[in-house]
Amino acid sequence: MANVDSTISIPPAKYSIAHLHHQPRRHYGRWLAASLIILALALIVKAFAQGQIAWPVVAQFFTAPAILSGLWNTILMTICAMALGLFLGVVFAIMIMSPNPVLKYVAVFYIWFFRGTPLLLQLLLWFNLALIFPTLGIPGLFEMRTVDFMTPFMATLLGLGINQGAYTAEVVRGGILSVDNGQIEAAKVIGMTRLTMLRRIILPQAMRVIIPPVGNEVISMVKLTSVASVIGYAEILRNAQSVYYANNRVMELLIVSAIWYLVVVTILSIGQHLLEKHYAKSQGRRDVKRVTPTEAEGV
């Protein structure tokens, strides 16, 4: 036996227990907790089932045209507004980190103003822009009435997108700052200019940090679209409201939309998870060895 420490004499008898079987810890508490929680959930489900809620109505409206078209509008707006928000977020994140004071302070102002005012107000402002600018365009060349351009869709898109951009800018900035300085110096050293570096090295690596919060923001955005109902954008919650104004089934219609929201959000969460995994992988699984601090020891 080459791997027995040569200084160990024949181990005393008591060391023989070294060959006993290791037994993992028992978790009686867990089973108790599990039962209690399942009981509580069962009670809540029962209360809902027996409460003043007509479940057949929920089923009936689950696929009603009004609800489905609202759902589609919600998804469409989420995609468009998020795309605009991401674009603005990246642009303003770069601006705020620029050494050019003009660019920097424009970005500071943008973030301050749009994070600081309620979205509802921004939507109303865009929607009623004609109160201030009756026409848009280049005078003489091309002009159109502001209200014709600023449809509910456009006003919602601008409102949500620009507002989102202000939040995303901070997230992107955090992501850029998280990129290791060494990576940046390595990029400089092979002669990259600032923009190439951003595109090829910094942003791809920042993705890992950016995706989780942006995923959160997308999920919020799905639900935030409902604010747009005030300017007549027909998203799902608004259509559900239209229905319950007519038939008075308030809770039922809210539950219908809640289920749809949960479906959409669940799909998005799965997408987010896959994306996170993708970026973790293409960065060479840096964190494989990582054990979460609380997992390591057990509760």
Binding site: Q52, F61, A64, P65, A66, S69, L124, F127, N128, L129, A130, L131, P134, R145, T146, V147, S229, V230, I231, G232, A234, N239, Q241, S242, V243, Y244, Y245, A246, N247, N248, V250, M251
Partner: protein
Amino acid sequence: PARIKDAGKIVIATMPNYPPITYKDPATNELQGFDIDLGEAIGKELGVKVEWQEIAFAQMLPSLQTGRVDLAMAGMSDKKARQETADFVDYMKSGAQFYTSKAMAAEIKTVDDLCGKSVGASRSTDWPAQITAWSEKNCVAKGKPAINVTGTEGSADARTQIKSQRLQAAAQGNETLPYNQKLEPDTYVTIGDAFSQSLAGIPVLKSEPQLRDAVKVALEKLQTNGTYDALLDKYGLKANKLSPITVNMGE
């Protein structure tokens, strides 16, 4: 007016949260209601197509100002403050009506029983103010406790709060209450008669007297040819008939 003739269409704002005046058919998601039918009829009289735009109630007057819409039909009350921005062609009477749920009807039999209770009404209307005034006159003045007035987000919310017994009673326009009683039979009980009167009108921007007059003429025609009455009938609104058509008579 030429502008509207040229466009061949008239844009009317509405908010389908006010059955049976304006709402959406849950089954088909189509606009429906007294105002919708009346609006279509006015369009026909004017010889133009009607284009409906759904806009939140509070955004209707700003939308008139920006030229986004030409008219608004959503049972809007004709009130002095609103007349600053627009002229109102009044086409309907409405009165606020107290009601409560079957469950509490035993407790609240007459309007006098409302004193000291919680009573709600939609906060975007002036009913909360009217209830307060009513309570000053009929409760406080008679030495009874005042009504606890709650502004709810809309009439639908007031009804939900009655069900959860957060409110003991609520007030709602007598043009909409019958509809809700039909929808949920055996749920609501009215208390007394309407306690206030107001006029509902179609707002037209002050800068467009031509359009205002055209709408007025169209409405008068619809009254003489019986269409107006037929529509009132269709939606069970006989009690809300306003004749003759007036302008800016609300206060």
